[in-house]
Each structure stands twice: as C-alpha cells, then as structure tokens.
Amino acid sequence: MLSISKRSLALLFAFSIVVLPSLAAAGEWQLNMTEGVTEVSREVYSLHMTIFWWCVGIGAVVFGVMFYSMFAHRKSRGAEAAQFHHSTKLEIVWTVIPFAILIAMAFPATSTLIKIYDTADADVDILITGYQWKWKYEYLGEDVSFFANLSDSSREEIYTKDAKSENYLLEVDQVLLIPTKKKVRFLVTANDVIHSWWVPDLAVKRDAIPGYINEAWTYVEEPGLFRGQCAELCGKDHGFMPIVVKAVEQGEYDAWMAEKRAAAAAVAEAAKQTLTFDQLYAEGESVYETYCAACHQAGGEGIPGMFPAIKDSTIATGDIKLHLDRVINGGQGMPPFGEQLTPVQSAAVITFQRNAFGNNMGESVQPIDVVNFKQGQ
C-alpha cells in the first residue's frame, strides 16, 4: 500500500513541478478574494480571512490528532486497541468550544451585515434592470439611461483560437459612471428572468428579480475601473453580460452627465429625420448583430425549438404593424426592445429584417413610424 501511495505522490509532485510552471506563464494565479475598494468590501474581506484562519486552526488540531493516531495507533506497529467508547465530559467540551467560536464570529458578521443594509441617505440613485443578456442603467431624476452590452471586441474573440485579451468577456460598450466620495444607491430589478448584479471590488451582489426592487449601495473613495459579471444563471448568454463601473471625480461625472443629456436630445431629434433605404439597411445590420443575432443567429436561421428564424418568418414577411409590435413590445418569450433601441435603431433593424436573408420585402420603416406606433398604443 505504501509503495502505491508513494508512487501517486511522486506523480503528483512531478505534475506540480513540470506542468504548473508552464501553465503559470499563460495567466495569473489569483488565490484569494479581492479586498476591494470600499470600507464595506474591506470589512467583508477581513471577515472572510478571520473565519478562514479559524477553519485552518481547527483543521490543524483535528487533522493533527487524526494523522498522529493513524501513524501511532496502527496494527502494523503492534498497537493494541483500547476499548473505551464514551465520555460525556469530552462530548460537552467539543460542543461548547465550537459554540463559543461561532458566537465570537457572529458579532463581526452581524455588524458588517447591518452596514450593508444601511441604504438610507444616498446622493445618487441608479436603477439597474437586468435583461437577457444586458444591463440597463437609469440615473433617477436625471433623464439619463442607457443599456450596457458585451463589447463587440469581446464578442469577436469568442470563437477565435488566439489567446484572449486581458479583459475578455469583461468589457462593455457603455460603462456605468459613478462619482467618488458620494453614497451611490443601486436599485436592482429585472425585466425577464432573475439576474444578479455583482461587482467584486465593491462587494455588492444583489439579485435582480422581476417584480422586486432590491437595494444596495457603495461609497468609492478613489477613481477606478471595476469589473463584474451577472452571477445568476439567466439563460443562454448568462456568461456574456459583464458589468463595468467607473468611479470618477465629481467634476468629470457632471461633465459626462451633461454630455449624456445632450445625446438623449440628439436621439429625439434624429427620430424626426427621414433616412434612405441604404442608410436604414446598413444601420439595421449592425443593430441586428448586437441585439438580435445572439438568439436569431447571424444568418437569421434561429435555433429550432428555442428561437424562431427571421428568414421567411411570418412576422418579418407579414403585416408591418405586427413586426413593429414584436420588436417594440416583445412577446412569445422575446423581450421588448422598445426602450433599448432608439427610434432610428428600431426602424433600421425592422427594415433590415424585412429585406435581409432573402426576405426581400422591398419596404422600409422610418423612425417617425416607430415614434407614431409607440404613441398610438
């Protein structure tokens, strides 16, 4: 038996010296939780380390006794079995000691928890809505809102054979900006299934649940960029809806906010213009890639039984009102896109879908049609 275990250990050792260093060249070996950048995240980290060291200590004692016994009390060394089998005193001792340790741990855990739950008196309120598979951010009282999707650069890397870039799958098309030295409250909800908004550096993880608005908060001291991901299985592209939060000083935040408001005004203005078919088709193609292709597939063929095809579909080749309705209001498992897409984008993608993949309907939809449809509801 000993020879076999020695051989196995030798194999393990060989594995660790030959294979591991070569792997190390490829990436990093982060072992532990991040300390994060907020007071709360540092408290969570220290709680994590305290309970970890308690476990290590208890393990050392218990396994130490056990391994000593396995060495000393073996038949091959001539050990005679004692026949004792009961001691009330011992049972009480090893009930009371763990209990005392738990009570000692309960104090810091409870006080951190109380802090996490104190969401009152926020300076900035951001409504976060989870969608399959993107996040919507809405600055309450500011008239600014936008969606954050997985960046195109990450999406393009998924199927390539090259080494992935540093922020692969953790890059978004629009980052969430928050001001430093301000209490920021996150109001978290979802539009379809349950998601979970998680940024490790802020130690914030809140489930986004349809019909609920959960609260969380953070207070970041220094500017920085913090990455996270959806943490609750939410369907096919659960692994592809990252979160990027950027903390900036108040001045930069205000300037960005003004820019966003101007952009919103520009979108409203753009909805009034008339576009050519080619402009609509080209814009529609890129909107399709970002918003539609994940389910309906790049060639419009869909996935049988899960996501219907656009090619030859009754909606894309039927009544244009029904097509508008489906894109804007969703239905049959498809989420509504009326809020995610600007009128220009909606008009463009409908035009694209009615003419691409051999649908060749020869029609186009103008942004004003979308605005009128929405108002007519």
């Binding site: 070996w29 982060q30 009390h73 073996r74 951190t112 199927y159 692969y168 130690a203 692994g239 592809f240």
Partner: protein, 516 residues
Amino acid sequence: MAHGPAKGLSRWFYTTNHKDIGSMYLWFSFAMFFLGGIFALVIRAELFQPGLQIVEPGFFNQMTTMHGLVMVFGAVMPAFVGLANWMIPMMVGAPDMALPRMNNWSFWILPFAFAMLASTLFMEGGAPNFGWTFYAPLSTTYAPASVTFFIFAVHIMGASSIMGSINIIATILNMRAPGMTLMKMPLFVWTWLITAYLLIAVMPVLAGVVTMMLMDIHFGTSFFDAAGGGDPVLFQHVFWFFGHPEVYIMILPAFGVVSAIIPTFARKPLFGYSSMVYATASIAFLSFIVWAHHMFTVGMPLLGEVAFMYATMLIAVPTGVKVFNWVTTMWRGSMTFETPMLFSIAFVVLFTIGGFSGLMLAMAPADFQYHDTYFVVAHFHYVLVPGAIFSITAAVYYWLPKWTGHMYDETMGKVQFWTAFIGLNITFFPMHFSGLAGMPRRIPDYNPLWADWNMISSVGAFMFGAAQLLLLYNVVKTIRGGKKATAEVWEGSHGLEWTVASPAPYHTFTTPPEVK
C-alpha cells in the same frame, strides 16, 4: 420453506427480495453515475480553456442542469436506497423489507423516470437548461418545451423516494429482531431512519413546487410570474425548503456508513454512539430552518438574514461532534488501512474541508462575495463527492465480500482509491481559488484570469472519471471470482450482517436472531 431466485429476466422484474432490489438500485445508480459523469466531462472539456471550442452556451446549460439532476436524483439517492435495501434487513435481523411488493414498484418506476429525463436531450429545444435548482421564471415562462417531461420525471422520482422511505421506516420500526432496541441499532440504520423521515417531509414539497410550475406553464396560473401578481422569490423559498434537507438526505446515510467502517478497521467500538444519534437528529432538525442561506442575495430583510445566518452557523456544532467522535474512535485503536478504511478516512478529512467552506458561506456578508461563484461549486462538491460518493464507494468495498462471497483485489482497490483521491482534489480544490478570484458558476466561457485553475480542474476531472472505470472493473472482477470470504469478512467486524454466510443466502433471518 426458503426457495431460491427465479430464473431469467423475470427474476428481476417480479422480485420482491430485498437483496435483488438492492442490487438493482446499486447498478442503476452506477449507470446514472456514469451518465452524470459524462455530462460533467463535457462541462470540464469546454472549460479547459477560455473561448468556446466544443459546445454552444445553450447546450452547456443543458449539461450543467442534467449533470446536477442525474447525480442527485439518479446516482446518490438510489445508491443509498440500494445500500439500505441490502443492509437494513440484515442489520436488524429481519427476513426482508416490510413492504416487498412496494419495494419492487419503487425501484421499477425509476428507470422510466430517468429514460424520460434523458430523452429530453433529443427533443426540439433541448433538455432542461435552467440549472438543477430550476429557478422560475427561467424554468417556466422562459423554459424549453421539455420542462414538462422534466416535471413528470421529478414527480416519479419523488414517488419512488417516498415509497422507499415508508418501506425503510416500516422495516426499522416493526421488524427488528427481539432484543434489538432502538439504541442498539447500528448507526447506519439510525441515520437511514432519520433520512427516511426527511424524505417523507420534503419530497411532497418538491412535488408541490414542480406542480406549481406545471400550472404556470400550462394552466395560466401565476405562482411565480411577477406580471400576473406572482412571486419568483416564492419559488426559491419552496424549492430550498425541499433543497436543504435534500442535501442532508444525501449525507446522513454516509455518516452511517463511515460510522460502521471506522470502528471495524480501528478494532474499537464507535466512540460516543448516543451522541452520534442525537447529533444526526439535531442536524436533521436544523436542516428545516436554514433553507434561506441559499438566498442571502435575494434581498431578504435584515432580520431574516441574521436569523438564517445564526441557524446555519449552528449546524457546525453537531457536525463537529460527529467528526470529533470519528477521530476519537480511531484514537488508540489498532488500525489497518484496507480500501474501505482509506475511503472513510478520506471522507472524514475532505468532508470536514467541505464543512469549513460551508461555515465560511454561512457568514452572510462574506456570502455576498462567495454566492454563485466557483467557491460554492467547490464547497458542495467537497461535501458531495468525498462525502456521498466516497462513502458509497467505501460501503461497496466493505460489503462486497458479503454480497458476492469473494474478496476484492486489495491492490486494485488501493489503486482506485489513490486515483480517485488525487483526481478529486485536483478537480475541486482549484475551484476554491477560481471562485474567490471572482469566477461565476454556470458560465461556458470565462476571462483568462481563471484559465490556469480551470485547466487543472479539467485534467483532474478526467483522472477522477478514470478512477470510476477502475471501480467498475474491481466490482465486476470480484463478482466473477476471487478469494473466498469468511462470514465475518473483517477481523474487527461487528453486527448481525456478519453472522450470516458470505455470500449472504437469498433469504436470511427467516427466524429472527436473538440480540443480547
């Protein structure tokens, strides 16, 4: 008027013999273990490196879901029921289970349930893809059509478990040999008695929650649909009210197995028998009041978080008592390290490590960082694989000579142990690190930050898979031949099952033994 088994296939279809039914349960579970293992290897192969190479995200989700469902309901639970069938009548000195015909029925509906579940893989829209915890509304409004078959399969599995549990309780309470008082029962019998009560308490809750899903999907109700006035969080409360006792259903019989094996190979009585019984009962009770620790991030009120956190921390106390008792049983024994003992010792060490990470997860504020990451995956695989799977493997080696009349090949047993032990740790230990470093669970593709740990995990997974082929080889080889086993089999064995010949005759204890 004992008579032998019937000839041919009808023996297996019509049998009411607890040993036949026990064997069928064990083989069925072994087959499901391989099926669930193949699903796991697909997952690990895809996660070998970042990027999508082998499967698409939609299919990946089907694999994680089916792996969990098949392992929990197809591999672990039937294996313990198989052990109960074989051993409980022999341990309490009964001729058979109390309800033999129902015993046949509770086994034979299982293959149909799992054939139906597996067939969903070939349906349009694919198999269930919402995780083994099937959170609504992903599993209702947004589910593939096959979810209905999944619901029916779960109903059948639940019926099977409930019937099996009734049978076990009836056997233990009514058919013990004269003189075998409750506090003289082997600990395996005790842990199964408590497990059976847990099953009867929570399987109807599972049946209830899947029925509510069925109503939401087909009959227009809105139990879990916020748009219709329903509540997605209600699903999680009901599910985990089943789900947390369920994880103890998968571990309490393991405690019983290990409590039989360690005294045998330490040649010393189990230390603290009565405290072991009380600890098991306490764990079972606590399992009903901790469910929401799976839901620390759903936004419960502060008071709810605190209550569930404290209750969860309490579980460490009776679990600690068990571990201390096992270690003290070994203390000043006269130990040998045959394969069942090796698996049992590995159980104690690795299950305790899983318990430690469980204690860490109980800290609600820290859980905000751990929840739904690979740290959780590492935690529950540490309690389930070296917990449930290792104890089942230990039980197979321990009782195989009694079942077959042959000794297994000790060298091959040890080779299998070390392959499994090393493979397991290479697979699951790095998951602690990738989880703490921020890798969410149930994702098919990931940032290169976690690439190294994932590559190691994948290598270990294939090694662990190979170890199970060795187990199959060892079992088949032992059935076909080997050194003749004595009635006692082990030098230090104690209990009624070791008083009958090896292999155990088709009918045992037709007249009850006298227990002093």
